[in-house]
């Protein structure tokens, strides 16, 4: 029984031509509090189907009057970000799943090193509010394309001064220099494109950082694929999964909803056993051996005509 939240768009503005920010207020009552690094799932009614995209909350966790999200228009989108950019206006209502946090700052950190790529800045906007309030030691490294994916740059410059390190596209970002010789008790957090995450993890590992001090959040959502038929072994039901729909969304629209959190193939919540059919695994949670038996329906899908699931 997930208590969905009904919100209204109270403000919307373009931060760059590619990034649109929304301020969301409750339609009734108050919004649940959230911690920095949390995300919400936004339910997007696109025709017959409902997409659910996860977006980081960028506002101040201490301010419970509204939520704020920033959405990057994705070129190869299933339509969710385009809908939010082109259809949603101030005054419109949206449905959210309550906040969940898979990317919280570590309470034991002596120094927080944040590395953001483009729209990956969003969770760190809430981090900075919380960390600065508790006077934590923090520095931000921001990689962006000027005028396109540099949301909040001026605000951050004002706020952080010399603790902001800017890397406009073309300016090299030397991860070795950022991660070498840091004090004991440092934690590094990165959010952005997969390439950046892999580079940070790889560099940190090479320099001897313990894995427990390296945190990342992939900024990925379900990608489209080819349509296929879904059969459920226990109930005998048959469903169609369209090209633009994830397997999880198809299950949800049929009223069969395994629990889900990240919707990006990372957290492991929606893990489901598959019994037959070719699977294209797109998650980063299951091992190769586990993938032979399970799949993550939030991102992975069938790549043949039909998939049989143990549901």
């Amino acid at each position: 029984m997930s208590a969905l939240l009904q919100v209204q768009v109270s403000a919307a503005r373009l931060l760059t031509p590619l990034v649109r920010e929304f301020t969301l207020v409750p339609c009734a009552g108050s919004l649940p509090g959230f911690s920095s690094g949390s995300h919400v799932q936004v339910h997007l009614p696109l025709g017959e189907r409902t997409l659910r995209n996860a977006y980081s909350l960028t506002g101040d966790p201490a301010d419970n009057r509204h939520y704020r999200i920033a959405v990057r228009l994705q070129e190869a989108s299933r339509g969710g970000s385009r809908y939010l950019h082109q259809q949603v206006e101030v005054g419109d209502r949206l449905t959210l799943s309550p906040p969940a946090n898979l990317f919280a700052p570590h309470s034991g950190a002596q120094l927080h090193i944040l590395i953001a790529g483009g729209i990956g800045i969003t969770p760190f906007m809430a981090y900075l509010e919380a960390l600065q309030r508790r006077q934590a030691n923090v520095e931000l490294h921001y990689l962006y394309r000027p005028g396109l994916t540099d949301a909040y740059l001026d605000e951050l410059q004002e706020r952080l001064g010399s603790r902001l390190h800017r890397y406009a596209a073309g300016t090299p970002c030397d991860l070795q220099a950022i991660l070498r010789d840091r004090p004991l008790g440092s934690h590094v957090y990165t959010c952005g494109p997969q390439r950046l995450l892999e580079a940070v993890r790889e560099t940190a590992s090479r320099l001897g950082w313990p894995a427990s001090r390296v945190h990342w959040e992939a900024f990925s959502a379900a990608q489209p694929g080819q349509p296929f038929e879904l059969e459920l072994a226990r109930s005998g039901r048959r469903l169609q999964v369209s090209a633009e729909q994830s397997l999880l969304e198809a299950l949800e629209s049929a009223g069969i909803a395994p629990p889900s959190l990240c919707r990006g193939g990372v957290c492991g919540q929606c893990m489901t056993r598959h019994l037959q059919g070719e699977i294209e695994h797109r998650d980063s949670f299951l091992s190769r051996a586990e993938q032979a038996e399970f799949l993550m329906p939030c991102v992975s899908r069938g790549c043949g005509p039909r998939v049989l699931l143990d549901l």
Partner: protein, 338 residues
């Protein structure tokens, strides 16, 4: 449903704690079968059965004033029953906020909260407390925020920090433990503080429970029941005071078992603390003497079968080895098949 409080009763010598017929009826008898084994018996803490202990997240009952007086006595003697590590300040305010909002909403006849931005006004009519304070500023309260609020709510509270894919017991108020110590467990991880529990580790119980608890979302707490036995209605059965109560286990006889032995049931609630991402673990303890318990149809019979067949390591962990045979004999009269 309005709550009325009993006159003050004591949870120590001379014991005067007892349950009203209403409290006996709403007692959370924990056994759903004639046998007991560990399981991950966690369920969503949805409100159910108005008037029952499951109606609200934090149950206030007739023993409220007595239990709060007992907490104050324990803290007077041993302030280390309350503890907040430095990084748990935000979680402590989170807990205060959750408890005040819930109590004011669920028991408006006893608790009132007015919030004007960060300026808060809290009234507890049951304990005659009227406090204005600034949320987030501990200097505006007579004591630290977690201590302030947990001196006014029944049950023990542990605040768990979530990091490294684990939970750590980094803050709490624990004055009525079933033989465990916050000062001892402070800073421990989930499996470390559960390490004394027999059998359950091998069964994979704690792996599954931890995975579940790490993902408890904001606003959707979960709950479970746990149980043990206690001699006399003693809330404070902590290791720190073992010298005061340990020997009681040798005093159970066929004549006094019904009066002396109490079933002790914990309603545990695990709720996400929204701003700190910590987890509140509240342990609301209910005591019932076996004389009171057997007044309910079927309870004596079932308890007889459960205790008779309980695996030895669990019985030993729950501290009943010395008097188990006497007790099972006493209970057998309520079991038609015995």
């Amino acid at each position: 449903m309005s709550v009325q409080f009993s006159p003050l009763q004591t949870y120590r010598e001379p014991f005067s704690f007892r349950n009203s017929p209403k409290a006996i009826r709403r007692f959370p008898f924990p056994f759903t079968e004639d046998s007991y084994l560990y399981s991950v018996n966690i369920e969503p803490a949805n409100s159910k059965d108005p008037g029952s202990i499951y109606e609200h997240w934090f149950d206030i009952d007739e023993h409220y004033r007595s239990e709060m007086a007992e907490r104050a006595r324990v803290l007077d003697k041993d302030p280390r029953r309350y503890l907040v590590l430095a990084h748990m300040q935000e979680a402590a305010w989170d807990a205060l906020e959750m408890l005040m909002h819930k109590l004011a909403a669920d028991y408006p006849q006893w608790f009132e909260l007015d919030c004007d931005g960060l300026h808060w006004h809290w009234r507890n009519k049951a304990l005659e407390i009227d406090q204005r304070f600034t949320f987030g500023d501990a200097t505006t309260l007579p004591c630290e925020p977690l201590e302030f609020i947990t001196r006014q709510v029944q049950g023990d509270f542990a605040l768990l920090d979530q990091r490294d894919g684990d939970l750590f017991m980094d803050a709490g108020m624990v004055t009525s433990p079933a033989d465990w110590s916050l000062a001892f467990d402070a800073g421990m991880s989930f499996k470390q503080w559960h390490s004394p529990v027999p059998m359950a580790h091998q069964m994979g119980i704690f792996d599954r429970a931890l995975k579940y608890l790490l993902n408890v979302p904001v606003g959707q707490p979960v709950r479970r029941l746990n149980w043990t036995l206690t001699i006399n209605p003693r809330l404070d059965s902590s290791p720190e005071t073992f010298h005061e109560w340990g020997a009681d286990r040798g005093s159970v006889t066929a004549e006094n078992a019904g009066r002396l032995v109490h079933l002790r049931v914990e309603l545990q609630l695990m709720a996400r603390l929204p701003r700190s991402n910590g987890l509140m673990f509240s342990i609301r303890t209910y005591l019932i003497s076996l004389d009171e318990l057997v007044s309910q149809p079927g309870w004596g019979c079932r308890l007889h079968r459960v205790l008779r067949d309980l695996p030895e390591p669990i019985a030993d962990y729950k501290g009943m080895t010395r008097y188990r045979a006497t007790l099972v004999q006493w209970l057998s009269r309520f079991d038609p098949d015995a």
